[in-house]
Symmetry: none
DNA sequence: CATTTCACCTGACTC
DNA sequence: TGAGTCAGGTGAAAT
């Protein structure tokens, strides 16, 4: 067990400090923050910290018997750094032999804006059994990634993928956008006409070689691309 | 209640006609006829015609008490237009707050060859309470869809919306595509540059006036649009 | 085994 | 906006 640490003030105004023991961290995968709406808990930590067949089956949300618990899972209640409670369903998936947090997880991902590579951290209170039953969840952003260019349109600002920009169209010049309502996930891509009777795109400044066709590749330092007489402006990534 | 109608001969050879009252129709979704093996009954109809907590809990397959019925559902017995009996489990899903027909439904879908967009129709006998307890199910193929132009790209064929094609970009020429995985719903849109130093698009043949900006409108008879030196070919809708 | 059934779950959408 | 509906999913159990 790691050295207990003093936390920031908890939600309970009568407690100024909570002594916590760190349990484990997980660097979340794309699936952990994607639409599968589940977080896989590494088996070694799951069995150590969140046993599903405990002798002392006194956890909140526990079913009546250990066998039932194994089948139905548990309701685990955490507090985040602001004292906000988070209740997650935690269970074992026989099919994948893995321990997962399911219900409630996607709300956490959304509220915190978790992305792949970010770290979630699990702790519990330190001290007597009652204190140790108190669970905490925290998270931190992954190390800053190299800046990516963004295309700032007239009405939309659209994060660009870092790789080559491609389109399912091979025979037309197409500038496509693809997004999901009410999320910030946008995907812009385009292609040059196959038989281009078009001016070659000019990239300013410090342009990498723009290969087109089959695709336009933008360097992270490009700030402006003039394409078919149209100015495309790139900006730094949006503040998060 | 709609006007009672005389049906075709029923399964009971002693009865030549059955008087039916139409209850409701549902245009089935892809999920209703897909692998989920369930039919969602719109709540308004479910609660009106197939109540799960009836005072008179005398329906076939009803559990012993109203509370039990709510939990376990009912066995509903229908006759199709040929008098063939169809028994479906009908219940309420707490999690999605929806009424569903489950067991038995996939067999109906398979036998009738139901596809998305087809309509299933629910009726019951007209007259005294006993007659009204007799349930009927029928279905009809969806209307042939009106032809829509399709944009046939090199690698993709993308159904176009019938209305004007617009884009959230106002300042660049953008040809966007927007779709949801595994459904056939695609949405193609584009716009001309706001300050177009571009040739006007030419539309062949029988072109409607192409207004651009702010948007390009394609008539259903347009087969080809030459836009910025790029040919866009339109075809009839794909065979289904 | 695959397929069906079952009891959940979530997000997109509507009002 | 927030609440309700429901289409489209899931894992597990039943068949």
């Amino acid at each position: 067990m790691e050295k207990p640490v003093l936390s920031s003030p908890s939600a309970d105004p009568s407690l100024v400090f909570v002594v916590k023991e760190h349990m484990f961290d997980k660097v979340v995968t794309p699936s952990d923050v994607g639409k599968l709406n589940r977080l896989v808990i590494p088996k070694q930590y799951a069995e150590k910290y969140f046993p599903l067949d405990p002798e002392e089956s006194d956890r909140e949300g526990a079913a009546s018997s250990p066998a039932e618990t194994k089948k139905l899972g548990l309701l685990l209640s955490f507090e985040d750094r602001g004292g906000k409670p988070w209740r997650f369903r935690y269970s074992y998936w026989n099919s994948s032999q893995s321990y997962v947090i399911t219900k409630g997880w996607s709300r956490f991902v959304k509220e915190k804006g978790l992305g792949a590579g970010d770290t979630v951290s699990f702790s519990r209170g330190s001290g007597n059994p009652a204190a140790r039953r108190r669970l905490f969840i925290d998270w931190k952003r992954r190390q800053p990634q190299p800046a990516r260019p963004h295309l700032r349109g007239f009405t939309n600002t659209i994060p660009l993928p870092s790789g080559p920009l491609t389109s399912p169209f091979n025979s037309i010049m197409a500038c496509g956008h693809h997004w999901r309502a009410r999320t910030a996930l946008y995907n812009v891509n385009w292609l040059a006409p196959a038989a281009a009777a078009q001016p070659k795109p000019e990239v300013h400044p410090g342009a990498p070689a723009a290969t087109m066709p089959p695709s336009v590749t933008l360097g992270s330092r490009s700030k402006r691309l003039r394409l078919f007489g149209v100015n495309l402006d790139f900006s730094e990534p949006l503040p998060e």
